[in-house]
């Protein structure tokens, strides 16, 4: 099958174009480095079907990060390249174009973001550009689909004009000549977006904007999350689902092995969906009734932040602080992604240039950045004791993030490079794209989390029945009770935390803990062991040795922090 590669500089709209060409949804965001892995789709090419690959963005064919290495490897496997270029700054984009042409692979150029050229005062002579490059050049607007049909018609005309290989300086000289002939820039006035752009990377106004953006994000997430729980999901579970479960409980005889696995424990005709721990009670209530509302709220807000183009500006503001942790400003993006789920966050570290940076970032994320599922449970359980306890949990995790980062910065060998990023223009988030992305992420949460949650609940029930938990509890009592001040049964939650942290926190609910104990339990659970999904990506991205190192750091950090909290609270 013919394999078509979408290649180009970061943030030029490759993924948006990919979705247009194949109908497959890919994550589109307004910052460079969104795509860090390849996505595959198919399109009609005349009579036959061709495979289309959305490749991570790359500035040159000399890779500086794992994501760019992936792009380079994919290039060897392609038959045709659609080189997606940014019409607003063609000059810079042409470097990769020339490098690709020198490779001798058949190519067409999609001059994307064509809609921006008008109000940005950029005028490009397409005929001349076609002549100079020797390949078809099609203006496109991936956002609206404009030009996509012409692009598809021109893919079969992709050719290689056999450009001789050149050196870096020769290429830039050639590009200078091309630009002189094809591009005209007219003057224009500053827009409000550009004024906002300047304000958000200024030390003082930028700091205020960042505080306002983060604070309002937090309140909006909480407002939407709590709203969905109080007005939609709790009524659904309590009024519609509870009667069904009570009937089922009667049918199953009100007790026994099967009853406990399916329905769980029911005390006095009242169902506590969080504590009963049956597949159809807690197994559905945890993912749908507690976590889902926060997943929706979090990814809605994150999607809007991503699409406005604010995040790279936040990266600039955070750069000085993150340098103290051995990272640079850009790592704020993987860290924020980690507040949703640690798995894509650790994958996102592929855009970082050095191994050391990736190790520090992945370790910090897996230890001190709680995912949305865990946070939802923290709000539900700890929040019920008072918001000040929630604040202690967050404050502790933040302090661990900083302190551990400083320690790692002083102990991990290697170098951490400096920030160098392109800051995209502010854009109004296209609401359709925002909703599509929200759906994509919510769906993948449901598809990936529900089976594991049900599996975890099944495992809990079986391990209880077999008495395994009792044995573990007695064995670990010195640490759990002595060091952390928790009842010895709490260890079961720490064990299940390896499967799903949300279910694990739910296991602390029936233990009648004091508020202080609940805080210790939540913090230790958040820090100790990554869940199995995170564990697998860490293994893949860091390798066995570094993954083991990270886990070692994790265990020590969790026990020390838990021990200190136990002494204070």
């Amino acid at each position: 099958m013919t394999r078509i590669l979408l290649m180009g500089n970061p943030n030029v709209g490759k993924s948006a174009l990919f979705s247009r060409l194949t109908g497959v949804q890919a994550i589109v965001s307004n910052y460079p480095g969104t795509t860090i892995n390849y996505t595959r789709g198919y399109m009609k090419l005349g009579e036959e079907t061709a495979e289309v690959i959305d490749v991570p963005g790359t500035y040159t064919l000399e890779p500086t990060s794992e994501a760019e290495e992936i792009a380079l490897r994919l290039l060897d496997s392609g038959d045709i390249v659609i080189n997606v270029a940014n019409a607003i700054n063609l000059e810079r984009n042409l470097y990769l174009t020339l490098q690709l042409l020198e490779r001798g692979i058949p190519m067409v150029v999609a001059l994307n973001l064509w809609d921006d050229t008008r109000h940005r005062g950029v005028d490009i002579d397409l005929e001349k550009l076609r002549g100079l490059l020797g390949v078809p050049v099609i203006p496109t607007v991936a956002l609206t689909g404009e030009g996509v049909k012409e692009l598809v018609e021109n893919v079969p005309r992709a050719i290689s004009p056999h450009r001789p290989p050149g050196t870096r300086d020769q290429r830039w000289a050639n590009i200078g000549k091309i630009i002189e002939q094809v591009q005209r820039i007219s003057h224009r006035h500053h827009t409000w977006r550009e004024r906002l752009a300047d304000a958000s990377v200024n030390q003082v106004s930028g700091g205020l904007i960042a505080l306002a953006a983060l604070a309002s994000s937090f309140f909006v997430i909480r407002f939407i999350g709590e709203g969905l729980i109080n007005y939609v999901l709790d009524p659904l579970f309590n009024n519609l689902w509870a009667p069904v479960i009570l009937k089922l409980s009667q049918l199953l005889g009100g007790g026994g092995f099967l009853h406990d696995i399916v329905v769980g424990k029911i005390a006095g005709g009242e169902i506590n969906f969080l504590q009963s721990f049956g597949l159809l009670t807690s197994g559905l209530y945890v993912p749908l009734g507690v976590v889902l509302p926060y997943i929706v709220a979090f990814y809605l807000v994150l999607g809007i932040l991503e699409d406005t183009g604010y995040l790279p500006r936040l990266a600039v503001l955070m750069d000085t602080i993150l340098h103290r942790l051995g990272l640079h400003g850009y790592t704020i993006i993987p860290n924020l992604l980690g507040l949703g789920c640690n798995v894509p966050a650790i994958l996102a570290t592929r855009i970082l240039e050095s191994k050391r940076e990736r190790f520090i970032a992945a370790t910090l994320i897996s230890i001190a950045v709680p995912c949305a599922a865990l946070q939802a449970m923290i709000f539900g359980l700890v929040g019920a004791r008072g918001l000040e306890y929630v604040a202690i949990v967050y404050g502790t995790l933040f302090a661990v993030w900083i302190i551990l980062g400083i320690i790692l910065n002083h102990t991990v060998k290697g170098f951490s490079p400096e920030l160098l990023i392109e800051i995209p223009p502010y854009r109004l988030p296209p609401w359709r794209a925002v909703l599509q992305k929200l759906w994509l992420r919510t769906y993948s949460f449901l598809a990936e989390a529900i089976p594991i949650i049900l599996g975890a609940i099944l495992a809990v029930n079986i391990l209880y029945i077999l008495g395994v938990f009792n044995a573990i509890a007695n064995f670990t009592a010195p640490v759990v009770t002595g060091l952390l001040g928790l009842p010895k049964e709490a260890v079961t939650a720490l064990v299940i935390g390896f499967l799903r942290k949300d279910v694990a926190l739910g296991m602390l609910a029936p233990l009648a803990l004091t508020s202080g104990q609940l805080v210790v339990g939540s913090v230790v659970l958040a820090m100790l062991f990554p869940c199995v999904a995170t564990f697998v990506v860490m293994l893949r991205e860091l390798g066995v040795v570094n993954m083991l190192k990270a886990v070692g750091i994790m265990i020590v950090a969790a026990l020390v922090t838990g021990g200190i909290l136990n002494l204070i609270l």
Binding site: Y59, T60, E62, T64, I88, N89, E91, R92, Y95, R120, V122, R168, W172, G176, A197, D198, V201, N202, Q203, P312, A315, V316, L317, D319, T320, H328, G329, P417, E418, L419, L420, I421, E422, I423, P425
Partner: protein, 94 residues
């Protein structure tokens, strides 16, 4: 770098080159040299920072934080260390 005065072209004095880190916010200039290794030069070139290019410094963060510039209608943020290796000749103020 020249120690005294500037070179003369069209009978008007030209300012001495300064590093991008030293350039004042809001000031424009022309990139004259990148004093870094091959890899760093490659990366800066890829973002449009090439000798001969006109740039405008948009802002700088305190405490040796990153410098943001505008080059070819795009904003780019550059770490302080790298910005200290990019030589820029400031525009003459009319």
């Amino acid at each position: 770098m020249h120690r005294f005065g500037g070179r003369f072209k069209d009978n008007k004095p030209e300012a001495d080159p300064v590093t991008l880190a030293q350039l004042k916010s809001g000031q424009s200039g022309t990139v004259v040299d990148i004093q870094g290794g091959h890899r760093m030069t490659d990366r800066l070139n890829a973002l449009g920072i090439i000798p001969g290019k006109k740039i405008t410094k948009a802002s700088a963060m305190l405490m040796r934080g990153p410098v943001t510039i505008e080059v070819d209608r795009v904003e780019v943020a550059i770490g302080f260390g790298m910005a200290s290796k990019v030589m820029v000749r400031p525009d003459r103020v009319p």
